[in-house]
């Protein structure tokens, strides 16, 4: 099952989707059992920005049909806070995880200009705790208001400009809210990305329940979970066909079957997001089922995953 991804050796192809698993919080909640049964082959941080962000006002969650709509607003301590506080703690914790090969840290960053992104990459370059960087390009360009990642021309320019600031693997996390995701995938590759990841959440809105003001504190939000799985499959397939670099596929993965579907259309790794909210050990369950796909009970579904769910995974 072990996989090589951009030069990193991983125990299996299942990692977490950025922003859907807080390592330090999970350590507080689960303690030793988190380190004993770590669910992912690599750990991806939530998005870090240059300046600290409080995040959006509540309510931040709306349960959608077979999914979740969030307007969390990327709360984080900012680059300095991350480097000074979280990074040493995350790295120490990952060092204690009982897994072989060790679990590398991928830091996810976002900036609204190439200069900002370059600053973030410079910082990541200097810290040996960080094995790779995922660049979230679902960020509005301050001048045009358009997401940097939504326009292939702009995306390629930005990636090319920031690329020299990082010698480590650079994964560009594409936005699905664009006309042609495959063109964006190619643009990221041409700009110098080592890999791409997709899909991020789809822009969506929850009704205000009789009021014209939408429910979510942030207005619109991002849709995730099973509801977006078929969209994810189409976009991952289209992107993988267009590029030669590795692809991290995600969107609504709940089982080994869903993960395999993404691998079948060309993904090298699969990320689990919203399903971890339902079960924090979903990642290890899926990895385990993937490795022993033949032994998985034929009637297994996410809510009836069969006996394999209950096994302690190593």
């Amino acid at each position: 099952m072990s996989v090589s991804f951009c030069g990193l050796q991983l125990a299996h192809p299942v990692i977490n989707a950025s922003g859907t698993f807080d390592l330090l919080a999970a350590n507080t909640a689960f303690g030793e059992s988190l380190r004993e049964r770590f669910p992912f082959a690599a750990f991806v941080s939530k998005t870090i920005t240059l300046e600290p962000r409080k995040g959006n006002p509540p309510p931040r969650l709306w349960e959608a049909p077979a999914g979740l709509l969030n307007s969390i607003g990327l709360p984080n301590k900012g680059l300095q806070g991350y480097l000074a506080n979280d990074l040493p703690a995350i790295s120490e914790l990952l060092g204690k995880v009982r897994a072989q090969p060790p679990v590398p840290l991928i830091t996810n960053v976002m900036g609204s200009t190439a200069a900002e992104i370059a600053q973030l990459l410079n910082a990541c370059e200097q810290r040996e705790e960080i094995s790779a960087v995922e660049l979230n390009v679902s960020c509005p360009n301050v001048k045009t208001g358009l997401d940097i990642g939504a326009d292939p021309v702009q995306l390629e320019v930005v990636v090319r400009e920031v690329r020299p600031h990082l010698s480590k693997p650079l994964i560009v996390k594409l936005t699905p809210n664009t006309a042609d995701v495959a063109a964006c995938a190619l643009a990221a590759q041409e700009g110098g990305a080592d890999a791409i990841s997709l899909i991020n959440t789809l822009r969506a809105m929850a009704p205000g329940g009789g009021s014209p003001k939408p429910w979510l504190g942030g207005g619109t939000g991002g849709l995730s979970g099973p509801a977006i799985r078929p969209v994810a499959l189409a976009q991952v397939a289209a992107a993988a066909r267009r590029v030669s670099i590795p692809v991290v596929g995600m969107g609504g993965v709940q089982s080994a079957k869903h993960a395999q579907d993404l691998l079948d259309v060309g993904a090298t790794l699969v990320a689990v997001g919203t399903e971890s909210f339902r079960d924090p050990s979903a990642g290890s369950r899926i990895a385990h089922e993937l490795s022993g796909a033949a032994e998985t009970p034929a009637n297994a579904t996410p809510d009836h995953p069969g006996a394999s769910t209950l096994l302690n995974l190593k």
Binding site: G19, L24, S33, R37, P280, D303, H304
Partner: protein, 293 residues
């Protein structure tokens, strides 16, 4: 005002600074438990899950519950994520949860019968901390929010006898007051006056505080009740621990969806650094932060 003279409870989520006594850690991963029984309690249900090997929760901690079958496909094709419930009692290898049917998730759980199965992640969050030797504990509950006060009262034991712990519970009407039987010796208030004091449970709180100023208040209930409790206790410099609620997706600090604003302008994850929080840390109780009325 410091919330209590117990160890300082730091709201940081960075792990080590938590007061150990208020949190028991959950094993990572949900576990499949069998329904031992579902009891009717007036307008409420008590779900009893057989959990002989689960960790014993601290009062105020909660679990995320998911019915093993037919979770989804309800009203508006919900639920999808699990639902949070306070542990109301822990005895004889069973965890008890007090349920009120307010939507698709609670409705599905209320349908369960003995032998059915439920996925459980927990215990989660930070619970209540014990009163000081000379403090009289006053428990203030509203509606389904009485649940964590029952297990809290269970753990008081001798303290209750020496300090005369009192439980004040408010309900909408007579059918809901049946919930009061979860606690011993509760004084009841109803909105409609059908049982006990006609009016708010916080009227009873004011009366108690007039008599015993050296008190600590433990409260859980709808946001307006929690807000009134916060204001009353704040004005008298009486420490209060409030068990908040919030819409949750994960329950273990992963999604940042359950936040409430603090006095210092930051946001607190209710599932991780709560649900029990020192009232002094809140400017006011957010409208989203209470139990269903």
């Amino acid at each position: 005002m410091s919330g209590s003279d117990r160890p300082v409870l730091d709201g940081s989520s960075d792990g080590t600074s938590q007061c150990a006594s208020a949190r028991v850690q959950a094993p990572i991963g949900r576990r499949l438990l069998t329904v031992a029984g579902m009891d009717e309690l007036g307008a409420y249900r008590v779900l009893r899950l057989s959990d002989p090997s689960g960790p014993r929760p601290q009062p105020g901690q909660f679990s995320m519950l998911t019915a093993a079958e037919r979770w989804g496909g309800g009203e508006d094709d919900r639920p999808h994520v699990p639902r949070a419930f306070s542990v109301a009692r822990w005895q004889d290898g069973e965890a008890h949860y007090l349920l009120e049917d307010v939507g698709p998730g609670t409705h599905r759980l209320c349908e369960l019968r003995g032998g059915d199965e439920v996925w459980v992640l927990g215990p989660l969050g930070r619970g209540f901390t014990a009163p000081a030797e000379d403090q009289r504990a006053i428990l203030v509950g509203g509606g389904v929010g009485i649940a964590p006060l029952a297990i809290l009262q269970d753990t008081f034991g001798d303290h209750a006898d020496t300090q005369g712990t009192v439980a004040l519970l408010g309900f909408r009407d007579g059918a809901h007051t049946r919930g009061a039987s979860l606690l011993r010796g509760a004084q009841v208030a109803t909105d409609d006056g059908s049982v006990g004091h006609h009016g708010l449970v916080t009227d009873l709180l004011v009366r108690e505080l007039d008599e015993t100023p050296r008190a600590i208040v433990y409260a859980c209930g709808p946001a307006p009740m929690l807000e009134a409790t916060r204001a009353i206790c704040g004005a008298r410099d009486v420490p209060a621990q409030l068990a908040l609620e919030s819409g949750m997706a994960c329950g273990f600090g992963a999604c940042f969806g359950c936040v409430v604003p603090l006095r210092d302008g930051s946001y607190l994850r209710v599932c991780l650094d709560g649900p029990v929080i020192d009232a002094a840390r809140l400017e006011r109780v957010d409208a989203h932060a209470g139990a269903p009325a």
